[in-house]
């Protein structure tokens, strides 16, 4: 009997899990925190300072945010490579969602790498942490603003539709009716997150 390996299964399930916890949860938190910008630069900057002042902040960031995102993104790119898109032959709704999930995943991953570099890593290197003002300045560049809008839309879609995949991958939504219901719910989540994220962005512009 050949030896059996289950690592690819666990890697894939871990990929699904990280998408929701912690990454999905973090995205909600991130949009929420950034919404403090609606109260003006002082409030926002004080919240940033609060988070930056948390004990073990770098460890928390690395283990709960950066590594999961890196894993989810890198493994996601591998998944994209194992697929063979056939949306034009089989133009069913879910097949489009499948394609979009991959597309938005790659866009979001690229955006997040840029975003983390620009707002966090560059700060670590230069000692100049991101602030309301620095973010606002960079958003003056319409290309960067467009990239932010695209990044937020992609992440929101990817989370909402990813939630649908998550509920199926974990055997929570099983029946046809349940899947249809959950599918609608997930579209709402996508839309809600997009609105949430764009609103937060708007306070910086």
């Amino acid at each position: 009997m050949a030896t059996h390996h289950y690592y690819s299964f666990y890697l894939r399930r871990f990929h699904s899990l990280t998408g929701v916890i912690p990454i999905g949860a973090f995205l909600v938190e991130h949009f929420f925190t950034n919404s403090f910008a609606m109260f003006g630069p002082e409030v926002y900057n004080s919240k940033v300072a609060f988070f930056m002042g948390l004990p073990y902040i770098l460890l928390i960031e690395i283990s709960l945010i950066w590594l999961p995102i890196l894993y989810h993104g890198a493994y996601g790119c591998y998944i994209v490579c194992t697929g063979q898109v056939n949306t034009f032959r089989y133009g069913y709704f879910r097949n489009w969602m499948y394609l979009m999930q991959r597309l938005t995943g790659v866009i979001a991953f690229a955006f997040i790498i840029y975003h983390v570099y620009a707002t966090r890593i560059s700060g670590l290197l230069t000692g100049q942490h991101a602030s309301f003002e620095s973010v606002g300045r960079s958003l003056d560049n319409p290309l960067i603003l467009a990239f932010y809008v695209l990044g937020i839309l992609s992440s929101s879609y990817h989370l909402g539709n990813g939630l649908f995949g998550f509920l199926i991958t974990w055997g929570i939504a099983i029946g046809d009716k349940a899947q249809r219901g959950v599918s609608i719910l997930c579209v709402l989540v996508s839309a809600g997150m997009a609105a949430f994220g764009l609103a937060a962005l708007s306070y910086f512009v």
């Binding site: 399930r13 697929g83 499948y98 199926i168 974990w170 055997g171 939504a173």
Partner: protein
């Protein structure tokens, strides 16, 4: 309109290694044709639309009533059974191609041996002690029988495999059809005795985790096998087993 001929464009290939080419045919229309009967007309008059003699088209078919699964091909770009593709419904302009996920034997005839190999891999059978008279089989709730029957109607035609974006040469996924058969044997009282072995095969490389949830499978299945529902159900079984079953080891 009524005497407009049926026009076919067929992707042909002489040997497994040679390159494909297109050949066009024209067949007089009569009501009631399907793709098989049109191909049969070409056999009776193997002349292409340029008037050249050619060899009859090679394809696979058997029952012609959509229970054997043999005549799967791409018809106007989509995968389906040729026998149930009625000309009066799909129109008189036809493009026929071999399905793309399996090696071509000749013309529209492909080798779907991989599907049967996958059934071996997942242990798609009830392990009985022997065929001697050993009394009755286990009782089964009609509800379970109905679910099992829906899965047991899978005729290994390969439509779901063809439409699945995750089943291709770059991925090791065994595809929707063989995966879903695990559920059939796991819900049978005797088959359930080997439930964990089958779930373990779905945890291996090529197993259920490689499903990408595009759900084309259920849309193209000619037998209405509840593929996506069963995949979700199996996800639950496999996940619980992957967590709690493995912790027993």
């Amino acid at each position: 309109m009524s005497d407009k001929p049926i026009r076919l464009k067929i992707k042909r290939q002489n040997t497994p290694d040679s390159s494909p080419y297109w050949e066009e045919f024209s067949v007089p229309y009569t009501p009631g044709h399907n793709v098989i009967s049109v191909l049969m007309e070409i056999q009776k008059n193997p002349v292409n639309s340029r008037g050249e003699k050619t060899s009859p088209v090679v394809w696979e078919c058997n029952c012609l009533e959509e229970v054997c699964g043999a005549c799967t091909m791409l018809i106007n770009g989509g995968v389906r059974q040729a026998c149930s593709a009625l000309i009066d419904k799909i129109g008189r302009e036809l493009t026929l191609e071999p399905i793309t996920k399996f090696p071509v034997v000749r013309d529209l005839h492909v080798d779907r041996g991989k599907m049967f190999e996958a059934l071996k891999k997942v242990g798609a059978w009830i392990p009985i002690d022997g065929t001697y008279d050993m009394g009755e089989g286990p009782r089964m709730a009609p509800k379970d029988q109905e679910e099992g029957y829906r899965l047991a109607k899978c005729m290994t035609c390969g439509c779901c495999m063809e439409a699945c974006p995750q089943y291709n040469s770059r991925s090791s996924f065994i595809g929707p059809a063989p995966t879903v058969q695990v559920r059939l044997f796991n819900l049978h009282p005797t088959g359930a005795m080997n439930r964990s072995e089958r779930l373990e095969t779905l945890m291996e490389k090529g197993g259920i985790a490689e499903c990408g949830n595009a759900q084309n499978c259920v849309r193209v299945c000619p037998k209405e096998v509840p593929l996506t529902k069963t995949l979700a159900e199996l996800n639950k079984d496999v996940d619980l087993y992957a967590i709690f079953g493995m912790l027993k080891k």
